[in-house]
């Protein structure tokens, strides 16, 4: 986080300009504490997605954080009433579900989480995909957009061999066509979650 602050400063920005982070954890151990440390660097936002992977490029490192920042543009953050990881696990961090910055929307990755951190549709990637898609639709609606406005989506699968089961469901929401990258991960931050998708939409 200190390094991120430093490179942003070099480019005339601060951590308050960050609208999205993607966090890669090598182990799920400590992710909650890491979230709280990261949270202390931000006042409002950003949106954030976290995944657990086997290793980083340089073994020994445990966490890597990507970020997108937007300078000098008003940011509209939203949190629809649907359950999300930050709220249900009482993380007490400023991360938000969605943000609109100019005509671009960045989101955290909606997941099939229920009240109090329960996982909906355990062991059912199709069921989880449906919940995640509905949550994404509500999130985008709160910012005046729909899933058809999505320009780019990044999907993380815990059992990537099952990804084809998600295709018919997700295709219903993306008929205008969108960029897509899909990769396997070891786990998502809440055990039992099988799919997480973060998007960038343009309105």
């Amino acid at each position: 986080m200190e390094r991120m602050g430093s490179v942003l400063e070099q480019l005339g920005a601060t951590l308050d300009d960050v609208v999205h982070t993607t966090v890669y954890f090598v182990t799920s151990k400590g992710w909650r504490e890491a979230a709280q440390i990261r949270g202390r660097y931000f006042k409002v936002g950003p949106t954030s997605t976290g995944v657990i992977i086997p290793t980083l490029a340089e073994p020994g490192y445990l966490i890597q954080i990507d970020a997108i920042a937007v300078v000098g543009t008003p940011k509209q953050y939203v949190d629809p009433p649907t359950p999300n990881v930050v709220k249900e696990l009482n993380l007490e961090v400023p991360f938000r579900q969605g943000v609109k910055c100019g005509n671009t929307i960045y989101t955290s990755g909606p997941v099939a989480i229920g009240r109090a951190g329960s996982v909906l549709h355990p062991n059912d990637i199709a069921g989880q995909t449906r919940v995640a898609m509905e949550n994404l639709s509500r999130l985008l609606a709160a910012l005046g957009a729909t899933t058809e406005d999505v320009a780019r989506k990044n999907t993380y699968y815990v059992a990537v061999k099952d990804y084809r089961k998600t295709v018919p469901i997700r295709s219903e929401y993306f008929k205008t066509g969108t960029c897509a990258t899909g990769v396997g991960v070891d786990a998502l931050v809440v055990p039992g979650l099988l799919i997480e998708m973060e998007v960038v939409a343009i309105v």
Binding site: V7, D17, L56, E58, I65, N103, R152, G177
Partner: protein, 187 residues
């Protein structure tokens, strides 16, 4: 401003409504590029193929590799990763905030590397480098953040080691040529 969604280019894309690129104004999103081929190969080879695909995809929406500001490369295992980074560094003429991630698998078992990108056409880039890391001067993949207009793309932090980057190939940017061969990154 119009949104330009590239037509589906492979059969699977017509099923999934996936597009290889979406351009809005100057900003181009490029889907993860892979090596589409039947025979088994290795990460460096797949990197070259993915980069060739990326170049072709960018061209279809009026962009070039020089416009790329951010990449994320997903690798199945560490084998060939450093060579892949060096290959990409040679391909990109300008500064790119690049992140490398190792994943357990990609969508097809034969895929070993997938590279996605964000480009800003005609970008005037400002570049930031992280203190403590000392990337090879002017080399492409070795920057940590790129600013284009109001937007800043920050590459994953916490992976830079001095000796790591000292193996990256040097290039003569002004001459547009290269002073290393295929395996020059090991020199």
């Amino acid at each position: 401003m119009q949104i330009w969604r590239m037509a589906p280019s492979v059969r699977w894309d017509t099923v999934t409504y996936r597009r290889q690129a979406v351009r809005h104004g100057d900003v181009v999103y490029v889907s993860g590029q892979v090596a589409v081929e039947k025979r088994p190969s290795d990460t460096p080879h797949q990197t070259r193929m993915a980069m060739a695909n990326m170049k072709a995809v960018l061209a279809q929406v009026g962009a070039t590799l020089a416009d790329v500001v951010k990449t994320t490369s997903y690798y199945v295992g560490l084998e060939g990763l450093k060579e892949s980074v060096a290959i990409q560094a040679r391909e990109f003429p300008g500064a790119v905030a690049s992140t490398q991630v190792v994943v357990p698998a990609l969508v097809e078992p034969r895929f070993l590397v997938e590279i996605e990108a964000i480009a800003v056409v005609g970008a005037q880039k400002s570049v930031a480098r992280m203190p403590g890391a000392d990337p090879v001067g002017g080399d492409a993949a070795a920057c940590h953040a790129v600013r284009c207009g109001n937007t800043i793309y920050v590459a994953g932090s916490g992976r830079y080691k001095r000796e790591w980057w000292s193996r990256a190939p040097r290039r003569h940017a002004a001459a547009g040529g290269r002073d290393d061969g295929e395996n020059g990154e090991r020199a």
